[in-house]
């Protein structure tokens, strides 16, 4: 009887010890697994491959907790801006036909350098730095 209780104790200790170790090591192993979303750096974001953005086109992407816009001009130059319009925070877009950055909310217009040229925007767009490395486009805060 005593022997039985003892071995029962050994089993509960062993069993719960193993579960405890699992409960401890499972989170640790999960922690060590690299996450899918690799955007730690809010101050720098990989936007994509250079070939994904042909000349005279644009790409809106998420930059930290705000939206940003990457523009490739017809001459192939890359420019990136905070895509929040300085008027009322709407997201701006690139207008091929006019060759400007344009806000749909109140017809705010910025030139290709982000300067406010027409409409209500009170300030130019904040610009970011664009770096191309091995055909990958990175945008970072200056």
């Amino acid at each position: 009887m005593n022997q039985g209780r003892r071995s029962f104790l050994i089993y509960t200790i062993g069993g719960s010890l193993i579960s405890l170790l699992i409960a401890i090591f499972y989170p640790i192993l999960a922690f060590l697994k690299p996450p899918k979303n690799k955007s730690i750096e809010v101050s720098s974001v990989k936007v994509g491959k250079l070939e994904d953005i042909p000349p005279d086109s644009s790409l809106n992407f998420r930059f930290g907790n705000s939206s940003a816009i990457l523009i490739r001009t017809s001459s192939g130059e890359l420019k990136a801006f905070d895509a929040r319009c300085t008027h009322l925070d709407c997201t701006v877009q690139y207008r091929k036909d006019m060759g400007i950055i344009w806000c749909a909310c109140h017809n705010g217009k910025y030139d290709i350098n982000g300067r406010n040229i027409a409409g209500p925007p009170p300030r130019p767009l904040n610009s970011y730095k664009v770096v191309v490395q091995n055909d990958e486009v990175y945008v970072s805060k200056i």
Partner: protein, 480 residues
């Protein structure tokens, strides 16, 4: 009892006063003897003739007060000798400095103005007192012949400001059409009809201390401009004969535009002049109002022009934007404007009996808007609930921002008054709302997962701890 001392004192005082008056009399009459003036007039000098009509002559000032020298000397050489401080014709800034001997306030105002910049030759200011007021024929402003009289002032300003080649030398970006515009403005029209109350150049720009419109001290700086216009336009008594309202300023400062300019300092928001024109100020007509508003609200104006309302408004002679949004007291549009409730604008024309088609559309649009508002507040609550629980919901919050943006866009596309375009936008919002909802719900689930995980962990530890405890007890019992 007579106080002799007192009497004597009074007599002495009287004596000296008489003496003083006599001396003053003497100098006064001496002034009358002005050999400068009498000689120059005798020699048919034009300046002397002009000066005889000058306000300063009237005030008994002599030539010598500006030109120096001694007017009491009969001999020309003595009168115009350097010992007698003769200056001759003052040049450059000396002119205004001479005026400043008496008109110090006006001088310092000019000194601070844009006009007190050096001319292209770099020798003197662009404008001296005499540039506007004349030289020897200076008269009171009220005098109809004064160049700065309200009926002449715009011409005197235009002398330089309408001269394209002249202005270009100083400020190539400054327009030169102000005078022409002014003539077409309500102010200019009244002025040409001899109305002295109508605003002239100096009414808005100040007379002596004229500053650039980019100078925050300027009366026409964008934050100061509404106040400047209201100086006359809010004065009931002053405006009474024109039969126009005087509450524009009061309405404007409470409007979305007024708050943007005066409180937020947003120089892109319209001030009075942006809608009415500045030099050519006149109220926009019924037919042009949408063009004026459309300068900023371009898409709204464009969509409206293509909407069925355009024709209807034109035929009913309704002003386009103003009918729904009013003019000076315009506030940010709310969903209240749409629909068939008593606060809505649509219902004013689109009653179920008269225009059932529009009635139905308005009803449908409002229903969609209301459901967006309701859903948005639910998911905002869900997300903030998850946030309160310490969960990370920045992605969902980012999407909430997108929803706000499309809501703004809806306020634009509504001007097409087309249900299909409207529904395209609302569908976008409903999709986003679903995404946010699922992310928020996931965060809440994760929150409970953590709690259940903790419970499981605690149970394991309790089992292990209890069995370990029993094991220790056993061990100690055995050893005893």
């Amino acid at each position: 009892m007579i106080n002799w001392k007192n009497v004597l004192f009074k007599i002495i005082i009287l004596f000296f006063s008489l003496l003083l008056i006599g001396r003053m009399e003497k100098s006064y009459s001496q002034k009358k003897i002005d050999y400068c003036f009498s000689c120059h007039r005798a020699n048919n000098d034009e300046s002397a003739f002009l000066f005889s009509k000058d306000v300063h002559f009237e005030m008994e000032l002599s030539c010598a007060d500006c030109h120096g020298g001694d007017p009491t000397q009969k001999d020309m050489g003595d009168a115009m000798s350097t010992e007698n401080n003769f200056i001759g014709v003052p040049v450059g800034n000396k002119v205004s400095e001479l005026c400043s001997n008496c008109h110090i306030g006006e001088y310092s105002a000019l000194y601070n103005s844009v006009h007190a910049k050096y001319s292209i030759k770099g020798e003197e200011w662009i404008v001296q007192c005499t540039t506007c007021h004349g030289i020897h024929n200076i008269t009171r402003v009220k005098n109809r012949i004064s160049p700065v009289n309200p009926f002449n002032i715009s011409k005197i300003c235009a002398k330089c400001h309408s001269n394209i080649s002249y202005i270009r030398k100083y400020n190539p970006e400054l327009p030169t059409d102000q005078y022409e515009k002014y003539l077409t403005s309500k102010h200019g029209l009244l002025n040409s009809k001899n109305d002295p109350k109508a605003a002239t150049c100096v009414s808005c720009h100040d007379n002596h201390q004229i500053l650039s419109k980019k100078d925050p001290r300027s009366s026409v700086y964008f934050t100061n401009l509404p106040k400047t216009c209201s100086y006359c336009h809010s004065n009931q008594e002053y405006m009474s004969e024109y039969k126009i309202p005087t509450d524009q300023y009061e309405k404007y400062i409470k409007s979305v535009h007024g708050i943007a300019t005066t409180e937020k300092g947003d120089n892109a928001a319209p001030s009075c002049n942006d809608c009415h024109g500045n030099h050519g100020a006149i109220p926009p007509g019924i037919e042009s109002i949408s063009k004026v508003c459309g300068m900023c609200h371009a898409i709204n104006a464009e969509l409206f022009a293509g909407s069925p309302h355009k024709k209807a408004f034109d035929s009913m002679k309704l002003p386009e934007c103003e009918t729904c949004h009013s003019n000076h007291d315009i506030i940010a549009a709310t969903d209240q404007l749409i629909g068939i409730s008593s606060t809505s604008i649509c219902i004013k024309c689109h009653s179920n009996e008269k225009l059932p088609e529009g009635y139905k559309t308005a009803k449908k649009m409002r229903e969609l808007l209301d459901s967006i508002v309701a859903l948005e507040s639910t998911i905002t609550k869900l997300v903030s609930d998850a946030e309160q629980k310490g969960m990370e919901v920045s992605k969902a919050k980012f999407k909430l921002r997108d929803i706000r943006q499309i809501k703004l866009e809806i306020k634009t596309v509504i001007h097409a008054f087309d249900l299909s375009i409207f529904e395209k936008k609302t569908t976008e919002i409903f999709n986003l709302i679903n995404e946010v909802k699922s992310q928020g719900e996931y965060a809440i689930e994760e929150y409970y997962f953590r709690r259940w995980g903790l419970l499981g962990f605690t149970l394991i530890i309790i089992i292990l701890a209890v069995s370990l405890f029993l094991y220790i007890k056993k061990l100690e019992n055995k050893s005893e």
